[in-house]
Assembly symmetry: D2
Homo-oligomer: 342 residues x 4
């Protein structure tokens, strides 16, 4: 059975990544591609690497016939996304890749994003899209909120440690290193090749990055108390990849065991043998996530390091994984491609 | 029906690329991986990006049971390759990725590579592996010689122009720009990140690059006279990709038409609309080749620009394409993955 | 004696490079920095790498007191530049880094740049700024037009070959490879790190690049007849550098000798020993230009390869060199810094 | 007065960087360049970017006439360095860039580096080369031990905080991001462009990096008790630069003030305005170090971020700075070049 897919926001990087993944999916078929600002253009103009696919031209949202759509991916910027989604047919299955439906409390949303939430009713039904931890709810969801890419890697590294209580929830530091595609296809000076290549820097230092909203929400729920971690992202001169170095307090072997057990049956989450160190080049272009654990020379301290491709497992691959669940397909369909190296 | 595959030389980049492509192939199954110098190691040690595949450990060639092998890819350095292949069972189907069986005349081989050919009998039966031009012979071949990556892109750009006689065969210049993976996983100072990143240079200037042997052999055969082109390769700070800028004498529209007609039914070879310019980032990680044609301001001169991924269409993807033909599979099996961008 | 310097357009890359070079210049002192759109900002906001210099804040042009300026660098975009310069005091020594005063014939300017020239009187007095060939005129000039970066390297490679008549003027091809800073600090999608890194492509193919106007003007003047070369630029994923591969008809040894003799006493122009190949990483951040010559396997054809840093010798370094001449300083003042490698 | 300089180990990156810096030094003159393995070669063969300098050819150590040497930089690998230095004339002023004389306790050296120290007498007189903190002793020293590049940036960030007692010495985490030139010009697979570009990873995780020996020695001395920090380095795909993110416990404003006061008169150490974030691209190729301080959202926690160029302020620039002190020159001589950007 073929599932007809709509992508709204098809001219950005997560949109292109969705198309790339769907191209090899056995049962998903792209029915319509929306990008209001580039409506009328062919995808090969906007993304020449998609030239060989037989894709519909970009179109306006109001030209979409929703009768022929089984599932919609919404890859718009936050704030725009809630406006658009609140106008879509209520029977439509939707996966939103923006930040708009990740936070359950609208006030928390407003605190982090600066604008009041205008689709509160819709948001009530949104399911948080971290597949491996919300599988059942996602299967029957109407609206799934894809997680932030930083939020995804951090949670994969830390959730089992908090739920198994093997680390001190008050002493967690995540030092994140992110490739530039995480910032999207946006014309900002600091994203120019000449500004970024050969240099790197921290940003959103001091606990101001918006993905902290997700960490707070999820970690506090697991721990049954307020958990607030330290989190510092850095921009690295590479196109894809996200690496998080977690500094935690807890016995390294217990930390390693907790992760190993939690993900024993997870195809996309690999816990490396104790002491092995992952690299972003080993998951590039794939839906796989590698996590390594090492003990520090200071007793009782562990270092947990996780890597994923921010555009795949960190956003569009996760979205496909969730779509598979929502549409009754095998969870791994279209997602088993091997990482590309070198 | 499953085809059991052996890869000899599995610890290099073309070996890894073969494994990556075979991982999504519907009927190929890796039976054995040989790398004498790293025998006993697991593939995840040698290439951590292959960790999630269920692969056999690396082994010695003399441990291979050839009864259970349907086809062998040989990804060894030239010279070693002819030694190894001349010892393999004569009934084995083989695709060699080295330079050892590309040149039909052993003396020409010796002239370019500096050593006498020691497997002359074997070489007599080798078929040149430029799929689109040797399809029938490849289908029934016992031994196929994969082309050089530079040789492949150059021939895709120029063969139809010579066979249709729309350009002057004595006035061809190919200015090539190659990414670093073309040099293999070899420990050379000029391949270090610190030496190469942010810099670029020509090499093998003046008609000394060995792939010229292939150009001479093939172009002369087409033209029915000796054709010797100018060819200058440059090393570019990127991991994958090859771009050739061809300067030819001939009417641009005729040049464009000749290519368009020649490749009308070729899935992997796209001739862009007249005047459009291809980029290596649009074919990365894929088996697709894009070629663009533009007229110069000087009348009667055309510029032909071709791009491909040197590791895929330029070597391992081509090898899979040929293996499909040799094993009676659909030519495109395992090769339709969309390029990865950004 | 100290020379007081004004830079108009100080917030772009060539502006920043002027400041970097002037910082170590023994007699130049920055008096005023103009950038209308960023007036009021400190230079450390706009270019944090200049933080340790004691620089004036950015200001509006109309706040400049020209009594206290000895020389002005104008680093504005073309078209804007002619508007601004035509309003500056006529007694001011000016070096323009834009394209506005490079072409002597206003009609030729309009043909290449698309807009009529509005400062024709001023332009009449402009001297073309290719230092080594216009030294005397520059010394006494009021207005010097800095050359295009592509135009500079191409002329260094070819002028002596034309004036010594050792090559065929009708058979010249320049295949250019340019780093991204040549495109300036402009917010264009194709200049984003995620779009450019790991990929490369040609642009302005077919004789449409505007620097051809300079080649036509200069080469025709030397040859005493119309000379029109073929010229194809490519964008390379690096920040600084320009490499041109020249395909010419002429005896390689004579070509090498002609260049060697022409530049025997030139400090910044190095002709490498015959057969040696230059790389952009060997001139990065410096005012040096390396040129190598090799013979092709086809008799009577030579390959000339030149490299320079597009921001230094290709624009701001050249401008300082010219300023030294105009102000009676040693030509090499402030320009002898060694390239930075790795 | 001219000082005649010898460099032993001139074929590596720190050797080349010394030469680059000395080229613009007003009173230093290179008298002899030693590289046993490449003796007889010209520097332009080994480092073509130094082509325009008038340098002596590489020579064997035993050919050096020490009568004509005023100061020697030793840029050899550790272990080799102590062997060589113990044989040099005892009257020679020496700056060692290796790890061999950094640790005062020979047993500690053996613990970290694995081999017994064979030049214990020499080592007793070695002065630790962190210029700003050992100025007086360096001025009169016979042998100065250049610090590790990681050790330098970490100490600049933390020493004043420990000596002013504004942070908790038991709760320090340094997350380091290092460019690849820090690994030297060594032929290792993980340093190849194809392996490193576009990817990044941690290494020496868990407190095993040798520069921890320096941190332990210095921080414990300042605090008057054993201080052991957590330290995790990461390899970043860039050629130059080192960025350390320090997680400390202490009032952010006090932390900022302590650093500001400590470096008030230091030309090379800039404390940014509170809340500003430094980047490696702002110090590239220079001897400057930028340090920023931000408060975390968790009260009582501060984030200190420091950047420098590992080859300049992190090794060869520091060495020149120390040489200036030892030879009675102005400390900043030859070191005031502006960073290169982009």
């Amino acid at each position: 059975m073929t599932h007809r897919i709509l992508i709204i926001g098809a001219s950005g990087y997560t949109g292109a990544e969705l198309i790339r993944l769907i191209a090899t999916h056995p049962t998903f078929k792209i029915a319509s591609l929306v990008a209001n600002s580039k409506a009328g253009k062919s995808m090969s103009e906007v993304f020449p690497h998609l030239r060989q696919l037989n894709l519909p031209d970009l179109t306006h949202l109001d030209e979409v016939n929703f009768e022929y759509i089984d599932l919609c991916f919404c890859a718009l910027p936050h704030r725009t996304s809630q406006e658009v989604i609140s106008q879509l047919p209520s029977s439509l299955k939707i996966i939103d890749l923006s930040a708009d439906f990740r936070l359950r409390d609208p006030q928390t949303y407003e605190n982090w994003y600066g604008n009041p939430h205008i689709a509160r009713q819709t948001q009530k039904h949104a399911i948080y899209g971290l597949t491996e931890f919300y599988r059942e709810q996602i299967s029957t969801a109407q609206l799934v909120a894809g997680t932030g890419c930083n939020a995804a890697i951090g949670q994969y590294m830390l959730r089992p440690l908090l739920s198994e209580d093997v680390i001190d929830a008050d002493e967690i530091i995540l030092d994140m290193k992110c490739a530039v595609s995480g910032a999207g296809r946006s014309l900002k000076e600091n994203l120019l090749h000449a500004e970024l290549s050969e240099g790197y820097n921290a940003y959103a230092v001091g606990g101001t990055h918006r993905h902290l909203g997700e960490f707070d929400q999820e970690f506090s729920a697991i721990a049954g108390k307020s958990v607030r971690i330290q989190f510092t992202p850095h921009l690295i001169p590479a196109n894809r990849g996200i690496l998080a170095t977690g500094y935690v307090r807890g016995n390294p072997k217990e930390v390693h065991a907790a992760l190993g057990e939690a993900y024993e049956n997870e195809i996309f989450l690999s816990i490396l043998p104790f002491g092995e160190i992952p690299g972003t080049h080993h998951v590039r272009g794939s839906n796989f996530c590698h996590i390594g654990v090492t003990g520090d020379r200071i007793e009782g301290r562990s270092i947990v390091i996780g890597v994923m491709d921010n555009l795949t497992k960190g956003s569009s691959g996760q979205a496909i994984q969730n779509a598979n669940l929502m549409l009754g397909e095998k969870e791994t369909s279209g997602l088993m491609a091997t990482p590309i190296f070198p």
